[in-house]
């Protein structure tokens, strides 16, 4: 536990030096999603079926999910990948009396922490855009509670992919794919039509999609489903164990 605290303190020291660029990114991401995706799409999608709320209100949790998940994915991916591909950078952790679990946990905790800050800043920015939305404190709690599981999921995904993606071109491409998947396939920015094809039928079965749906339900003042949160927690735990197992193969060769 003491070692974990030191590792987190190290991340805090790094953050203190780069806080301006972090704040810039945290502000840029939700604005980019709003200006480049939600605003143009709002010309074509007036109202979202089932929830019967305006598209702009409906898309708000989508912007929060996309920006927080994407930030956490990139944070975890780039931190671990840089340590792995840069000569000897990982050695400074491997020679210290810390376990792989502690090291990976520190990356995950930092990533989730920064993801939550991204989520808060995204909320602050988008809720001040004048979009008619009523959100109570309870709604805010439910939205945080749901999205945090997606942040954890994409952080672990970042850790997992950093073991295998060495090439800059491929890593850029994967970020683009995740961005497209988050924005358009997961029903965050673009509503999934009721009559769908096989691909969307598959997407609808994903617990992370159901979490996205939960956050939209909160905006639409409807009841949420707890099952996908439990399922995503289990998936996150399994994924982290896989990442840990891979780390024992990859770190100490």
């Amino acid at each position: 536990m003491k070692e974990l605290k030191v590792l987190l303190y190290r991340d805090w020291l790094e953050f203190k030096k780069k806080y301006l660029s972090y704040i810039f990114l945290w502000s840029l991401l939700p604005m980019m999603f709003y200006l480049l995706l939600t605003l143009p799409l709002s010309k074509y999608i007036k109202q979202v079926p089932v929830l019967e709320i305006s598209y702009e209100s409906w898309a708000l949790p989508g912007i929060w999910i996309c920006s927080a998940s994407l930030f956490s994915y990139i944070y975890c991916f780039s931190r671990l990948r840089n340590l792995i591909i840069e000569d000897n950078q990982l050695e400074k952790y491997l020679k210290a009396p810390i376990s792989n679990g502690q090291f990976l946990s520190s990356l995950l905790i930092s990533s989730v922490f920064f993801g939550v800050i991204q989520l808060s800043i995204s909320m602050f920015i988008t809720l001040n855009l004048g979009i008619a939305t009523v959100i109570s404190n309870m709604d805010l709690f439910l939205i945080y509670f749901n999205i945090i599981f997606l942040i954890i999921f994409f952080s672990i995904l970042g850790l997992l992919l950093s073991f295998y993606i060495k090439d800059n071109l491929v890593s850029g491409l994967v970020v683009f794919i995740i961005f497209i998947f988050l924005s358009f396939s997961l029903g965050t920015i673009n509503p999934i039509p009721i009559e769908t094809n096989q691909f969307f039928e598959l997407i609808k079965k994903l617990p992370i999609y159901e979490i996205v749906l939960n956050t939209q339900m909160v905006i639409g003042q409807k009841a949420i489903n707890v099952t996908p949160i439990v399922t995503t927690t289990i998936i996150n735990c399994i994924l982290f164990v896989i990442v840990l197992a891979i780390s024992y193969k990859k770190f100490r060769k």
Partner: protein, 308 residues
């Protein structure tokens, strides 16, 4: 005497090439042990293996009686390791690098700070504390890495070419610090600087192709040459082929070689030297040098096909 580091039949292959082959040796507690060997002989792999950066494929190794495989974390907390390559955290200042490393090894902030200041002052590096690794020269980075490895007062110190890239004054200061601040600790260091091995190591091992060719005290290693001497004849102009043809006729002239204008060879018998000298006098002989075999000669002999 109690063993501090024990390696028993250690094997390690990487990408189908053998790095360590059935390697066994021990380092006594409180002694300094030098590993010398040519590039890729396996020196760094041994140190990385002991600190847990690489995993062994075969064999068993202990540090202070603890199995390095099963009690790896414990071992890392009592070990100080300095890598051959720069592995400072580029995102942190030098002071932060030292503090974080000290705290990861169990020191509290105050002790980590105090120890950092003591060593930084001793190595005249206090001016570097606020800088980042990218602002430092190679030698300065190496000094900081050395301080980092001893900050937590480790029981066992593993140093991979600790003075590589340092000026002579800094080299001496590094060894001064070891003498002054961490006496009677077990130190295993690798080096290509044979004088350093001769001067500071209690025992020396010559490593070649992943195995130890010979190990022991300097005196014992030199004894194994059985009175072999090294002769150097310096010429004012390169001797002709005729000279070499005449030398070749004498099989007891060992490992003859020409380095620039210096003709070098080994022999156990002074008579052979007189024979060569006699031949050389017909050419433009300038100077002669005779010395008994030292570590350098033994090293060359063992790692470059043997002297005989």
């Amino acid at each position: 005497m109690e063993a501090s580091i024990t390696l028993n039949s250690i094997g390690k292959t990487f990408n189908k090439s053998t790095l360590l082959a059935d390697l066994s040796f021990g380092v006594e507690k409180g002694t300094t042990f030098a590993l010398i060997g040519s590039n890729s002989s396996g020196k760094s792999t041994i140190l990385k293996l002991l600190v847990g950066i690489v995993e062994k494929d075969a064999g068993i190794a202990y540090i202070n009686g603890k199995d390095i495989h099963t009690r790896s974390k414990e071992i890392r907390s009592i070990t100080g390791y300095m890598s051959q390559n720069i592995d400072l955290d580029n995102e942190l200042s030098i002071f932060e690098n030292l503090i974080i490393n000290g705290r990861l090894h169990g020191l509290d902030y105050k002790t980590a700070k105090e120890n950092s200041i003591i060593y930084l002052e001793h190595l005249n590096s206090m001016n570097l504390v606020k800088l980042h690794p990218k602002d430092l020269s190679y030698g300065q980075k190496r000094k900081i890495m050395f301080i980092r490895s001893i900050l937590h007062d480790p029981e066992v110190l593993l140093l991979d070419e600790p003075t590589k890239g340092l000026d002579p004054q800094s080299r001496n200061k590094i060894w001064d610090i070891i003498d002054k601040f961490i006496p009677r600790k077990t130190i295993l260091f690798s080096t290509q600087n044979l004088e350093e091995a001769e001067k500071y190591a209690d025992r020396i091992a010559i490593l070649h192709e992943g195995n130890i060719k010979m190990d022991g005290t300097l005196e014992r290693l030199v004894e194994t040459t059985h009175g072999l001497s090294r002769y150097v004849l310096s010429f004012s102009s390169p001797p002709s082929q005729d000279f070499f043809d005449k030398i070749k006729e004498n099989p007891r002239v060992l490992k003859p070689s020409l380095n620039g204008l210096d003709f070098e060879f080994y022999s156990r018998e002074k008579k052979q030297f007189f024979n060569v000298l006699n031949i050389a006098l017909d050419f433009s002989l300038d100077d002669i040098d005779v010395s008994t075999c030292k570590l350098r000669d033994l090293f060359i002999g063992l790692t470059d096909g043997g002297l005989e």
